[in-house]
Amino acid sequence: MQVLTDASDPNMANTILAYTTSILQDYQQRLASGPAGGVRIVPEVRMRYNPELKSVFLFVPGLIALILMLVCALMTSITITREKETGTMEVLLVSPLKPAQIIVGKVIPYLVISLAIVSVILTLARAVFQVPMRGSLTLLMLECLLFIGCALSLGILISTRSRTQQAAMMVSLSGLLLPTVILSGFIFPVSSMPLPLQMVSHIVPAKWFLIIVRGLMIKGVGFAEIWQETLVLAGMTLFFLAVSVKNFNDRLA
């Protein structure tokens, strides 16, 4: 019996072939009259964490990371750069306000917005998609706060190095959002990528955050399993902040 598949989509072809073969095997079983002459190893497959293989389980944590990156890093970088571009940053700098206060003032609204967004996403995920929350909610919110801090510091870093909004936007988009979407394990499994790309994915903060969020929400792990990833995120945040402060003092102050 010949099965011809359109393999322009290889995964589809594989899956279709698997379905077709098992239907045919099923049919063969039913036709068979005598005892099964032959050897069969029967697989008993159990899908852990996600028995119904719902794809939202994979998506929602990634979406949180993506939106946080978008709001915190992208928007922060654009807003600070816009003040530089329109000249109003100078006005702020000559005031008795310290540069650090200006930056904090710029950044806090986005922090609040981000926390609100995360809450909305989590509520929707539970209510509409039944995504479980098997770990500690407090820990999740704390980790989100850490990631927000990381994204904010990245936004500040980009803004210290960009002179125009367009430049800030483009650097954020191509340097942050695209790697976050492609290389962080959001859609495509990192372990299937060629080695150089796997190395690059180590410096994408979202990758570590995804492991943490998925672990907390879907696997139900405790802090003991994710302390290493948390440490990496904290380290990245400090690094970005340090570089931003140095850049800021060199250029603006």
Binding site: P10, A18, M47, T164, S174, S192, K219, E225
Partner: protein
Amino acid sequence: MRTILFLLQKEFLQIFRNRAMLPIIFVMPLIQLLVLSFAATFEVKNTTVSLIDEDGSTTSRRLVENFEASGYFTVMHRTFSAAEADEDMQRGDVRMILHIPADFERDLRQTGTAPVQIVLDAQDGAAAGVVQAYAVRILTAYSRDVRVDFRTPPPDPFAQPILDVVFSHWYNPDLNYQFFMVPGILVLLVTMIGTFLSSMNVVREKEIGTIEQLNVTPIRKRDFIIGKLVPFWILALVELSAGLVVAKVVFHVPMLGNLWLVYGLTGVYLVGMLGLGLWISTITETQQQAMFIAWFIMVVFILMSGLFTPIESMPGWAQKLTLLNPIAYFIEIMRRVLLKGAGFWDVQAQFWALVAFAVVLVTLAVRQYHKVSA
């Protein structure tokens, strides 16, 4: 006509003078093409396994060797404790537990069947399904080998009809995932240039204020729009060429169809997407807004277009929405023409859909655009 040529000259001068944007326009899409094509795969390689082999017989050991020899599985841990294997999975060290029960070989010899327990980390449901398919294939193949070893008499073909399945994968016999992704990613590149950059470009003029200077000239609205859109139409086609070269040289994507057809269809598609970019620019005041709206529309269209996830797997309402998605049509065209060698006749339906989009979007944009700012 001369007006348009002058406008084009001005646009190109502006584009090339903008040092920050040049790498974005030319280098970034190509890097994206390379990175995304290598990264974007739904194959699941290197599944890490925690092995519990309670049998330890030759048969069970050969089974494990078969798993490892397939190249898709790597045994990271061997243990006798199910709890330990569980812990491995909780920590994320392994994605699969393979549990071979104690009387595996004996049961196989005596009764002809024996169970094997497989626990998969199903956070990524689709990947878990793929891994399951691999595992079942290995088990089925191994069952046949074992039958030869045990010298079990082959089933009587009259009592037991045997259905032997022979398969052939057309268009992509090696199941090379990149052949599938690269044409789609080329679409992505062209779309980004077409919609994103064109909308941001017009809004930038609005923001800076130079658009007022153009508005007070006797330039006709039509000439202005053509002058703004044609450069990006040209740029996008140039990008497409660069992308096709990369696709051929780096990924060896087959190009079975007529390349002129590809260019022609891209040209039509671009008119529509440029219209969309222009429309976005008429409803926004700042570049930030333009970028966000364009991004939002693009992301929704792209995710729903069948680039990453097959349309056939989407829920009914999503499949209907695909009919309104120009990107979906264009991706279909690219895959059919490049991978399957389709001719114009084969992609006619998609072609007319793209023409319809172009007409609608450009009309919408042109009507909305006024020379006088409100």
